[in-house]
């Protein structure tokens, strides 16, 4: 899609901040216009990275589930973990990635809770993997402005 989404947003932000906002200086609406400009800057960044961030997160959770199933062979969570780990994205629409991400993250919460109660060495390994994954997710979600 041309012009680029990021460029269109950037140009609009410039118009808002240099042409529109000054009309409202010191006014409540001036603050609102500035907030919308910042919101648009974040939208530009999110537009570019949204699919990448979600795809990486979903795939890493699936890999973790697959690794867990090697050890957690007979638990009520096992069938769900296995099923999720065998799936792959068939669409890169953000809504689809989000829908799958919600299922995966809910299951990850259940798995993490369970792993925290286990004392085996493999469970400690999985626990470390979960934390590493959570750390990567947290860093990936940061905006440039953070």
């Amino acid at each position: 899609m041309k012009p680029d989404v990021g460029h269109a947003l950037f140009t609009s932000i410039q118009t808002l901040t240099t042409e529109t906002a000054p009309y409202f200086e010191g006014d409540y609406h001036g603050g609102t216009v500035s907030s919308i400009a910042v919101l648009m800057a974040l939208l530009g960044e999110e537009y570019d990275r949204a699919a990448d961030v979600r795809l990486k997160s979903n795939n890493e959770i699936r890999e973790l589930f697959a690794k867990t199933c090697i050890h957690l062979t007979d638990h009520e969570l096992t069938p769900q973990l296995r099923s999720c780990s065998e799936q792959a994205e068939d669409s890169l629409r953000i809504s689809e990635l989000d829908r799958n991400g919600t299922v995966l993250k809910n299951l990850l919460i259940e798995l993490h809770e369970l792993i925290e109660t286990l004392s085996e060495n493999w469970a400690a390994d999985i626990n470390r993997d979960i934390w590493a994954l959570l750390g990567r997710d947290a860093r990936r979600a940061l905006f440039d402005a953070d």
Partner: protein, 341 residues
């Protein structure tokens, strides 16, 4: 709105004649209520006078769901003490006057508040403002809870339940409002429950949102008013320290929380002013808790915005950028606490 305010104030204040409500305009003043400033022009014994006032009206949707009576009583609890607050004048619960409940308080003129984001705002006044800031927080902690009306509007927890009351409340907010699952946040909550803090020495009034952006100061570097008491409650005084020292409003320098003075000096001023001993372990728990609380607030703001109850772009902004910042801060805090090993 001017005419409705005039009619309301005239009914409330019968010994003066209100001539006019002038220069009414909405201002940014905390995300939980709509805030307007105006000038009330009136005749007192035949002499024309004017007074700057603030009206805080309940919104349709907001960042934080709070009771306006609580905020009103919190202001009253510190009026005429070493904690500077505007005089809270009238609380009105009847929706017939301005469509929604509201309260009116005096305006503190010729002051500014700083944004908690961007560049550190205080420049040469940072030391002077910082010393006042941490001393005032100590005074809030030192205030005798029973000498105020706060126990009539909020729960009074047992000393040993201060932490669980707060954690339960904010976990409840997450349960009610989250639009997507948050595995890191849930892990943090489990960690906090497994590692509770020691009970506080005493119960204190907790401001609940004591940070840069929520106080007014003049151009001589004097703090003139502590604002935004909508999350005030009774609890552990370390809670406010943990919130005020949160990295999110430390301008990327956690050693200088709120962009004011070094954290060690801040703590020593707070100890002296409050008469309460600083407990490092307890403080760490509340610091971590406050990052969880921050995330709960951003989650709640996302819900309000998505549901269309409140379309203020600040809600979308805070739910994006504050969520991402606070999530990363939360991870590092858990790492430092040894939770991720």
């Amino acid at each position: 709105m001017e005419n409705r305010l005039k009619a309301y104030l005239q009914e409330q204040i019968t010994d003066i004649e209100i001539k006019e409500i002038r220069d009414l305009r909405r201002i940014h003043g905390g995300a939980s209520r709509e805030t307007y400033r105006f000038e009330m022009v009136y005749l007192d014994s035949g002499i024309e006078q004017k007074r700057g006032l603030i009206v805080r009206r309940d919104p349709v949707g907001s960042l934080i769901d709070t009771d306006r009576a609580l905020e009103f009583v919190a202001y009253q609890s510190f009026y005429d003490t070493k904690v500077p607050v505007p005089m809270a004048l009238i609380l009105e619960e009847d929706e017939k006057w301005l469509d929604r409940p509201f309260f009116i308080m005096e305006e503190i003129a010729d002051c500014e508040s700083a944004s908690p984001f961007g560049e550190p705002p205080y420049a040469k006044s940072a030391k002077q403002i910082g010393e006042q800031f941490w001393s005032i927080l100590g005074q809030i902690a030192a205030r005798d809870v029973d000498a105020t009306d706060m126990p009539s509007v909020v729960d009074v927890p047992q000393l040993e339940n201060c932490w669980s009351r707060e954690l339960n409340y904010w976990e409840g907010v997450i349960n009610d409002d989250e639009l997507e699952p948050h595995p890191l946040l849930r892990a943090a909550i489990r960690y906090l429950r497994r590692n509770p803090p020691a009970p506080p020495e005493k119960l204190s009034i907790v401001h609940g949102d004591f940070r840069t952006g929520n106080f007014l100061y003049d151009d001589r570097g004097n703090i003139k008013a502590i604002l935004d008491w909508e999350m005030a409650h009774i609890g552990d005084p370390h809670e406010d320290l943990g919130w005020a020292m949160n990295e999110l409003w430390s301008y990327k320098n956690p050693q200088v929380p709120c962009g004011l003075i070094d954290s060690e000096l801040a703590i020593s001023i707070w100890e002296q002013s409050s008469g309460i001993s600083f407990n490092e372990e307890t403080f760490r728990w509340w610091k971590l808790f406050n990052t969880v609380k921050g995330l709960s607030i951003w989650i709640s703001s996302a819900k309000e915005y998505q549901d269309g109850k409140n379309q203020d772009p600040i809600l979308a902004l805070s739910s994006w950028i504050c969520t991402s910042s606070h999530t990363e801060i939360l991870f590092r805090q858990l790492e430092e606490a040894g939770a991720t090993r």
